[in-house]
Symmetry: C2
Subunit: 328 residues, 2 copies
DNA sequence: TTGTATGCGTTATCAG
DNA sequence: CTGATAACGCATACAA
């Protein structure tokens, strides 16, 4: 009933009339004699015993924590990811130790070390830092970026998604395409959105333009770009693929300000599958990342540490969703 | 340099030529002789020593974790809150142990216990469960709901916000107001949004209507309500205050479908201050909760455990922001 | 002031 | 298969 002070294995052992080690075995699922098993279980029930995670971690050098390292929770993609990861970890009896970095290299490294010191049983991270050092011996899964050999990277099928976006625009009648992107200057999986886009355009023999800038470049660069391509109230492009929904959102706003209609004059497709209020309408037509599946996969991978030969890159298929910025 | 195996205090003590206890004192900021201090610090630096959080927690029955218990991270208000809490805790050298409940009573209680077992140094939670039992001896702060005496509750000024919304609508020329709300059937601070709204209407001698339903009621109830109040293409109300931005978002959509213009025919104000993509435009005109300040306050309160006589309710002032669904 | 010794609750290693 | 016992790394009361 009352876990007044704190019931220990010793208490359980005394109550059950067995030795300490036997209790430990029962708790850890190691086979013991049938009657002993029973008596220990009863005692545990009766006393309301719970293992002490700290003591267990201290002794075994391994906690039930998973370190989750993300840039922030303001971007809907990240918060959705954290939401799914936390749930999935719970189902697997693990706790989530969350660290937010704003993509700051020093913080990323510091949280990596803190995770190690907390003896986490795994790390799931989203970082572009090429210098990042991964603690040895801790199963680690990276999202959207390859961290080198031996460390699995989970990502949506960025190439396929970029290609899909271009094809959808063409299906909807677009003849002059553009790709817009702002993102990390450091190489990562999301770069393939551009590659897929280009491939689809090339295959179709359709002209295209790519305008890519690094994070940190003010958005006004795109405003200038669009303005430069506006002639007599007509844009040089009738279909735009933006590397993220956020960018698509801003571009749409800019086009409207320029007096253009979306999707009548220009069609836009974003990437991510972000939704208003987390589960209402899409902000725009978009390539949807299957966040839930990606989270599940990350957890699967990070928990099956011993699995031999983990693939270094796992791409999850994406889907297209119409969200009002295209004519379908 | 290399923290190859795991440097312990014993190693530091040997390196510095002092006793174990002395190292412990230095690490914990307890005064020791000046030369000792120096030698220990040098040794720590040289060996790259870090305290083992598990051992410390086991010994002192207190970890540096703060249990954070929230419904989910999909709702922008919750994810914003988690974002701010995590940062603020980091600044104060604490880690965030995040638990998501979907407002499920059993989970809320389970995570409360898990937090206790993890020896957290505090709990910050958002739950409406009136039966929830708080572990004794753990500083706890509740958001948006009073958990009883001795436990601080942090909330925005819901009454003031409701009143402000009504006044803003009136300032913008509204003569026939309505309050719409869907939320927990369990009493909590957000109920005061309605009270404040009513007060402002009463004070101004303006007629109003309140339509409140419990969570779980399908949104179609509001569609029916609005349809019932539509006569000859004209709504009985020209100003609507919705208890959340999400509801305001849906209501606006419904009104547009009914052929009404927002804000020309009907003006709408929501509550929360939710923003597209976390920091872009507001979804609608809204009463903005100062999430950052609230998070900071929660952390302040939960960490100053010994503070005598903590107020049981702390209300943070809100502000109004125009977001396109009003005529200002 | 500094050093020593004990125990926090577990796990794991050995004898029985 | 079971039961005593030694760590795990740290904090702290107590002795020097």
């Amino acid at each position: 009933m009352a876990d007044s002070k704190s019931i220990t294995m010793k208490d359980v052992a005394r109550e059950a009339g067995v030795a300490l080690g036997t209790v430990s075995k029962v708790v850890n699922g190691i086979p013991v004699g049938k009657t002993y098993q029973r008596r220990v279980e009863d005692a545990i029930e009766k006393l309301g015993y719970h293992v002490n995670p700290q003591a267990r971690a201290l002794r075994s050098s391994r906690s039930n924590f998973i370190g989750v390292i993300l840039p922030n929770l303001r971007n809907p993609f990240f918060s959705r990811l954290a939401d799914c990861l936390c749930r999935e970890l719970s189902h697997r009896s693990h706790e989530m130790l969350l660290f937010l970095t704003e993509s700051n290299f020093d913080l990323e490294q510091a949280y990596m070390l803190m995770s190690e010191q907390q003896m986490v049983s795994g790390i799931i991270c989203l970082t572009y830092n090429p210098e990042l050092r991964i603690p040895k011996g801790i199963p680690t899964v990276s999202i959207d970026r390859s961290l080198g050999p031996g460390i699995a990277c989970v990502a949506s099928d960025n190439f396929g998604g970029g290609s899909l976006a271009a094809r959808k625009l063409m299906e909807n009648g677009c003849k002059r395409l553009a790709f817009l992107r702002t993102g990390s200057s450091l190489p990562n999986e999301t770069d393939k959105r551009r590659d897929g886009f280009i491939r689809a355009c090339t295959d179709a023999g359709i002209p295209y333009h790519c305008e890519c800038v690094d994070d940190g470049t003010p958005y006004s660069a795109f405003e200038a770009f669009l303005a430069a391509h506006l002639h007599d109230g007509r844009l040089d492009f009738d279909g735009i693929f933006c590397a993220t929904d956020l960018l698509a959102y801003k571009v749409r706003r800019t086009l409207l300000q320029m007096g253009l209609r979306v999707p009548e004059d220009v069609q836009i497709i974003g990437y991510d599958g972000a939704q208003c209020f987390g589960d209402e309408d899409y902000y725009c037509s978009t390539i949807v990342q299957p966040v839930e599946e990606m989270a599940r996969l990350c957890v699967d991978l990070v928990l099956q540490s011993r699995a031999r030969s983990i693939p270094c890159l796992l791409q999850i298929p994406v889907t297209y969703a119409s969200g009002g910025s295209t004519r379908d």
